[in-house]
């Protein structure tokens, strides 16, 4: 896949209001996110009605890969979304300091929080480089798939 193809995909995304695109082939994975993502569904929708734009093929990855930089010039705050269901903990232990706070700079492998499910503590990584601009989810509260946990300004 060369730059021309990537530009074509980005154009299709803009034209069809797709905010997230993932493609996995042999030896190659790409994930594109457009800026200003809101809400758990990866669709820009009119109030109440999800739009299913089908212009670009979407193949889901079992483990999401580091995102490429957003294409649009207006880069708003992205979101770190929950990949699982469980209870969110902001610190490694009750007495310890939170993993991240507003202003923390993170990289793709930085652990931002723990989500506990069935007594197993799962470290959740940022998966993007940026600065945490908001803490959206509450400590010790349940979170669902796709729920926004943090807001992050990508670097």
């Amino acid at each position: 896949m060369d730059l021309k193809d990537i530009k074509a995909i980005i154009d299709l995304m803009k034209k069809n209001s797709i905010s997230e695109f993932e493609l996995e082939k042999q030896e190659f994975k790409i994930r594109l996110k457009r800026g200003n993502l809101n809400g758990p569904a990866a669709y820009d929708d009119a109030p109440g009605v999800p739009q299913y734009a089908t212009a670009a093929p979407v193949a889901a990855l079992p483990a999401p890969v580091a995102a490429a930089a957003p294409a649009s010039a207006t880069s708003g705050d992205a979101e770190i979304k929950s990949p699982m269901i469980g209870t969110l903990y902001r610190s490694p232990s009750p007495e310890a300091a939170p993993y991240v706070d507003i202003g923390s700079e993170v990289g793709p492998d930085t652990v931002v929080c723990i989500i506990e499910a069935m007594k197993v503590m799962n470290e959740i990584k940022a998966e993007t480089r940026g600065i945490i601009t908001a803490v959206v989810a509450e400590n010790s509260k349940p979170v669902e798939f796709g729920q926004a946990l943090f807001k992050i300004r990508p670097l």
């Binding site: 758990p40 889901a60 499910a117 069935m118 796709g146």
Partner: protein, 461 residues
């Protein structure tokens, strides 16, 4: 009694289960994929948890996510509905090991029927006939001929590795058997990489008759009569009714009792609990054969509910909570006649091509004896990831004639625009003289469509 139940399903059956829970004062938790965010079951439940992306593999089939959702919502039990994980013994085990009651049969009962081979053996032990066939693979031409002679023509030669109606040939005599045997083997080799074939009796004009079973955890087992599900298109049921018009025929009158007893024997042999269905195939000579047992609540359960007055979903919940079955076999009487039409988002004028999309206008039929089990509503967009059934229209009538008139009336009122549905096709079936006479087998739709599709449907609709 449970305080909270999670429904591990979607669509109309999730709505059905939520309704039963509400009537039992049980709080409900819905799970949904991102594609189902606006679905009716999500809106009806007390709580809703998103469990993944649209494709079932990433949401409704994810045992880990379902259990996590059950945990954070602190539920007492999970109802699996039908399809998805409802007959997954491993899922039932995981629930129980996490101290969550699984509203359905035990994993042991499921495993007692896990495949055709095992269930045939179980039926044999219970003394119930299965379609006559070769015990396993047929290796030689000679063996094929002997087997065919033993079973009696006509027979079907089936590829072991085949499925979905593929890799089958009918033979009516020794000559066609020899030819068919070799052809089938070479075709199977080419198509499935496995030349293995077996032989089974070919039942002409088969009728699909199934019996509803309910069993509690104290060994009480009852059957709630039969459903006739012979109206099928490509092995998918479309119209179901109870009682079966087949049992009105002269030689068939004592079949109901015999088959009911056989169904109970099968369920007993499997130590079955909760709701289940024993499926039989019946030929034109009143011979019946056990096909398989479905270890879950079925799509067409409302037909039995309307005729017996028993709320099967509620019974499943009560049984799972450890309650004793308060209905005895003697208590049960069938009253009147019920018919169900499955309304699918498919275009009957275009080879039943699926028609997902946004429902524009939606007006459901009403009036006496009309029941709708559906998650559809005006403005709802049908997601492309799941099956095409959007509604079940069930009617009850004093007798079969009454029920058919009512169904025709209800179908004619049912207004769904923005997508294509099978409503006109089902209206055509309701007008068909053979259907009206109650004379039909599983070949019915194929025969109906065989002669002049569109004109036939348009003329009758």
């Amino acid at each position: 009694m449970f305080e909270k139940v999670l429904i591990a399903n979607r669509g109309e059956i999730a709505v059905r289960i939520i309704r039963a829970c509400k009537e039992l004062n049980i709080r409900t938790v819905a799970v949904y994929s991102e594609a189902d965010a606006n679905s009716m079951h999500v809106q009806m439940a007390d709580e809703a948890i998103c469990i993944g992306k649209g494709p079932s593999k990433e949401s409704y089939l994810r045992i880990d996510r379902l259990i996590s959702a059950a945990e954070i919502a602190d539920v007492d039990a999970i109802h699996p509905g039908y399809g998805f994980l409802s007959e997954n013994a491993h899922f039932a085990d995981v629930c129980e090991s996490c101290n969550i009651r699984f509203i359905g049969p035990s994993s042991r009962a499921m495993n007692a029927m896990e495949d055709k081979q095992v269930s045939r053996a179980l039926a044999k032990k219970a003394g119930v006939a299965t379609p006559p066939g070769s015990e396993g693979m047929v290796e030689s031409e000679q063996e094929a001929l002997t087997t065919a002679k033993k079973i009696g023509y006509p027979v079907m030669i089936k590829a072991i590795a085949g499925g979905g109606g593929r890799g089958m040939r009918v033979a009516h005599n020794d000559i066609s058997m020899i030819k068919g045997f070799h052809t089938c083997r070479s075709e199977a080799e080419k198509a499935f990489g496995n030349a293995g074939v077996y032989i089974e009796k070919f039942i002409e004009n088969p009728h699909h008759i199934e019996f509803q079973i309910l069993g509690d955890t104290r060994g009480n087992l009852i059957h709630l009569g039969e459903r006739d599900c012979s109206i099928q298109r490509r092995n998918q049921k479309l119209i179901e009714e109870s009682p079966s018009p087949l049992f009105d025929r002269k030689d068939f009158r004592d079949l109901r009792k015999k088959m009911g007893k056989a169904a109970l024997k099968i369920a007993e042999a499997a130590n079955y609990t909760s709701a289940g269905t024993v499926e039989f195939i019946v030929d034109d000579k009143a011979n019946y054969y056990f096909l398989e047992m479905n270890k879950r609540i079925q799509v067409e359960h409302p037909v039995t509910e309307e005729v017996t007055g028993v709320d099967l979903v509620k019974q499943m919940i009560l049984i799972a909570a450890g309650e004793q079955l308060r209905i005895s076999q003697g208590d049960l009487t069938a009253r009147g006649h019920a018919i169900e039409c499955r309304i699918n988002a498919e275009d009957p004028f275009d080879d039943f091509r699926p028609s997902p999309g946004r429902i524009d206008m939606y007006y459901a039929p009403g009036g006496p004896g009309v029941r709708i089990d559906s998650h559809a509503y005006a403005g709802y967009t049908i997601p492309p990831y799941y099956d095409s059934m959007i509604s079940k229209l069930i009617v009850w009538g004093r007798d079969r004639r009454d029920a058919m008139e009512r169904m025709s009336r209800a179908l004619s009122e049912y207004m769904i625009t923005g997508i294509k549905t099978t409503i006109p096709f089902e209206q055509a079936i309701l007008q068909d003289p053979n259907f009206r006479r109650g004379v039909y087998s599983t070949n019915f739709i194929e025969q109906l469509l065989g002669g002049g599709r569109r004109e036939l449907i348009e003329e009758k609709a």
